[in-house]
Symmetry: C2
Subunit: 341 residues, 2 copies
DNA sequence: ATGAAAGCGCTAACAC
DNA sequence: GTGTTAGCGCTTTCAT
């Protein structure tokens, strides 16, 4: 924390401004002066104080990313991708996880580390539109994730309804008819997981298959244990689905473990489709068919969106953009072969 | 970015200092004044500019954590724990991942986001002692992870040799004798994975079992795919281990997948022990026996160590501390039952 | 091409 | 109990 511009200036016998010019690679500096200053910088081991620079410039070069849970590999991978994308724009990333708790999400939306960050990428789970509308912090915000709000913020997410429909379509094509949905939450229309549930209903309806509400299993969270509990509850309830569409891969993996314990074969007895394309799904007892969102694209678009707002290119705050990266359905062992007759 | 202390002061008809006193909850302010100022703060929507505060105080309240790879659930979980521990000390966490590449580790060690961070927690993989010794950045540094350096930095890690020995001991107790080690790297004594390999050798030696170098499988990285490749190579080489001790759970999971594909049963034919206690290991084809480091303790100790240095309590930089959190061996299905005779 | 000086928003001495 | 003032280290007019 020692040496400042002033020290270097004195050492080199020039003014502060000149040193600043050298440090910032300003054009009009004579080679001789530049060299002299550079030498002083090297001997003194000067490193610019970014905090001061930030104060002066009004920006910090730091953006924040808040995801529900780093223990979920999907968010961990996404975080990694965001860090890489941010680095390309010379931003560093402050990371927080909200644990899917409303008060933490609120805290983050309200002004995470007030003013040390230039902008925020947030993946809300529990936050309602009014929470976000009441936001007073003026740092630009970009939303990611399944939930949609009618608010003046850019939003990056794949088309969750279409993705869910593709998954259910695949199961229907296999001849499955009793397709369970694992991972619904509450009954609010704005609930998390709502869009995927909607996709499930829509695709069944389009194929003239009755959507049996008894086949919708509710969960507390979306981890492996929740998937296991939901599947167990479904089976204990006497339900006998011939396929499962899970909210995400973790839920699917938990469900598959329960099925294995109870002697149900995947995919023979029950075909399974997950969501997220976790690497883990490629190494389980049975490799997992899954909806694969383009995580790199999500990260890249979120960062570009935010950086665009920050640089003023995309100033108009009244024109939020809805960006939808691609997804693909990756067919693996868990949906191999047609339904038993 | 609008309203500053000055604006509030003018609005409330008091001095800047008084507003500052209120904002910082300074004792000696009359309730009347406090209320008046608070009202001004509320109406104007004032929020302190942390950058300015940081510049003045010489610290930012941000610490950095650099891990090899967020895609590895171990590091993702650890990162989550560090974020939580840091929050308890009013620090936020800037996260970076080095992808286990030396130049990125070097960059981080040299001065990650120069001076925006107060200190750094680093988990090096490829960095050598001289790299770290040549470090010029003066932000306090705390090291975590398997590798050990004789340098003046605190280091937090479980006793990797003892942990590896416990794993091998467990396999020996089961009657296994041809115990492979999956996950060695190069031949440098300081190589990553060295301590666990050393533990493997030591425990075999202590039991009078010959350490067969042909049973040491080398890897490029430590992900599932690397474990799969290593196991395949071992089998292709004609080796027939009756047990596998893997560098970590991901390597173990990759290896188990290959064994399943080749008709080898776990644990009947090959018992498997991993390392890290990933949740994933509890939901695989066979639940995975593993060495479970106390991640919460590692995160807590690393943060406390760093915060201690920052607050000056643990000033003496010449006295690095080696802290060793506990570990436990969690026995699961992958090592159930004795060896076939 | 380089220098002088102001000021980003805040805290900490030191007055009163 | 409250006000004044001087910087923290940097960038940025405006001179020269």
């Amino acid at each position: 924390m020692r040496v400042s511009l002033k020290d270097v200036a004195e050492h080199a016998g020039v003014s502060i401004k000149t040193v600043s010019n050298v440090v910032n690679n300003y054009q009009h500096v004579t080679p001789a002066t530049r060299q002299k200053v550079q030498r002083a910088i090297d001997t003194l081991g000067y490193r610019p104080n970014l905090t001061a620079r930030h104060l002066r410039k009004g920006r910090t070069g730091i953006i924040a990313l808040a995801v529900p849970e780093l223990g979920n590999p999907y968010f961990a991978e996404l975080a990694g991708a965001v860090i890489d994308a941010a680095a390309e724009h010379d931003y560093t990333v402050l990371l927080d996880h909200t644990q899917g708790r409303r008060e933490r999400e609120l805290l983050v939306a309200q002004g995470f580390s007030t003013r040390v960050i230039d902008g925020l990428i947030l993946n809300p789970l529990e936050l309602e539109a009014e929470d976000l509308a009441a936001r007073t912090d003026d740092a630009p915000l970009v939303l990611i994730g399944e939930r949609r709000y009618d608010l003046p913020y850019d939003h990056i997410a794949i088309d969750n309804i279409a993705a869910a429909r593709a998954a259910v379509r695949h199961l229907l094509d296999l001849g499955r008819r009793r397709i369970a949905f694992l991972g619904a939450r509450r009954d609010r229309p704005s609930q998390p997981a709502h869009l995927r549930l909607l996709g499930w209903q829509a695709e069944l309806a389009a194929s003239g298959v009755a959507a049996d509400e008894a086949l919708v299993a509710r969960v507390e969270g979306w981890d492996r244990a929740d998937g296991a509990a939901a599947m167990a509850a479904l089976l204990d309830d006497g339900q006998r689905p011939d396929a499962v569409f899970a909210y995400n891969d973790l839920v699917a993996i938990g469900a598959m473990r329960v099925m294995a314990e109870r002697g149900l074969r995947v995919p023979e007895d029950v075909a399974v489709v997950g969501f997220d394309d976790l690497t883990e799904g490629r190494y389980g007892m049975v490799t997992l068919t899954t909806v694969a969102p383009d995580k790199q694209a999500i990260a890249r678009l979120a960062v570009e969106s935010l950086v665009g707002r920050l640089s003023g290119e995309l100033a108009a705050p009244g024109r939020p953009r809805q960006l939808q990266p691609h997804f693909t359905l990756l067919e693996r062992e868990s949906t191999l072969g047609r339904a038993p007759r």
